[in-house]
Subunit: 225 residues, 2 copies
Amino acid sequence: MADATTPAPPRTRPARPARAQRREEILRAATRVFGSKGYHAGSLVDVAEQVGITHAGVLHHFGSKDKLLWEVLEYRDRVDVEHLEGKHIPGGLDLFRHLVKTARINADRRGIVQAYSVLTGESVTDGHPAAPWVTQRFTGLRADIAQALREVVDERVAAGGEDGFEIPDADLDRAASAVIGVMDGLQVQWLLDPEAVDLADTTAFAIEAILAATLAGAQRARPLA
Amino acid sequence: MADATTPAPPRTRPARPARAQRREEILRAATRVFGSKGYHAGSLVDVAEQVGITHAGVLHHFGSKDKLLWEVLEYRDRVDVEHLEGKHIPGGLDLFRHLVKTARINADRRGIVQAYSVLTGESVTDGHPAAPWVTQRFTGLRADIAQALREVVDERVAAGGEDGFEIPDADLDRAASAVIGVMDGLQVQWLLDPEAVDLADTTAFAIEAILAATLAGAQRARPLA
DNA sequence: CGGGACTTACTAACTGGTAAGTAAGTGTGG
DNA sequence: CCACACTTACTTACCAGTTAGTAAGTCCCG
């Protein structure tokens, strides 16, 4: 990387700031294109003309379409994280408040919801390049939510008198999957028919229901099991 | 068409039974292809070679790719309906038992689940030809589930003493959307990572949770609202 | 003057769709 | 029972458009 003769070569602050800017511009365009048309149907030409260059120009920066998708996903992760800058992802009941709040905010950000839903849906096709990313994302989310749930349960047991029973990890995982599932599923319904589904409200209701059922624990009736 | 001299021409029972068979063969192949690769990524050539003909042969039967997709969806509806032949779609609590049972069966029918998930996910892209079908399907399902929920509520009120409160329609719609959402969302997670999610069990849990929350009605706490 | 950011030009593969031709089957009149 | 007319189920061949990717050249900034 660095020139051997110069100990602190000026190239470490590597010249063209334009390059990083350009790349980000392309990433944003690609997010829009893949988000609205999907990865397969969205072409490099579509992306390129949104930033006013040719598709070969895009490939100059990213090498291949697959790599571009990868960087788009990575970029989303980066942006989402720095969005809650410093304040780490909340735990306990706060996590669920955060999820509901996100749903509420998302109801005004159709594009982002669509991008997420499209990519997630497309990822279950055979050999889709986004599948690993989506899978990993689900795994992480499930762990986070299960952990927050555990905290809520412990807290409640410590405070109230209702101790004596333990909630098995399997129940927490189940609840976590259900929370993620209902959020994603509602987004799809909402995208297709915004009049018919109140995204924020329904998400809140469903999460509360799952939360309550989990806290009620093993003694609850299981009429369907 | 018919000869003017013959009042009831025998052509009303029109010859070739082979045609219908061939079409069905193609429809099944198309279901597999669109189900595994999606509508956009799945080509007519893929479909054609699964039945041992050329893509022009497929077009001879269906006219265009869009029409083929339409017939595939229609075909799914037809097959699904005649699957519960006679016994109409159940109401009340039986509907929820039916949904859970379906989830349990689906855990052994990966292909069908994938087809459904792929098409649903892809349908939220701009101008997708399957969007109307998916939207309509959601609308119908929501109505069915809300109706069944109403029956469960009424039944419970009539039997137990806990009368006096009414559950607004909005609450039922919310619950219905949530039920559909969680089923779809769990399918996607399960497809991507079958080890991590127990489809039947988690679906049962989530539906029970939503059911319980709805029945508990307005007096329940809404910690997140 | 060097190198990065492109563009132009191209390729090879593939797309859905069309047109025309062929082989086989069906129905009918004699 | 056969010949003719017609239909169906394709195939082959082709089209125009689009795709991702490559190679080579040009321009401009530092």
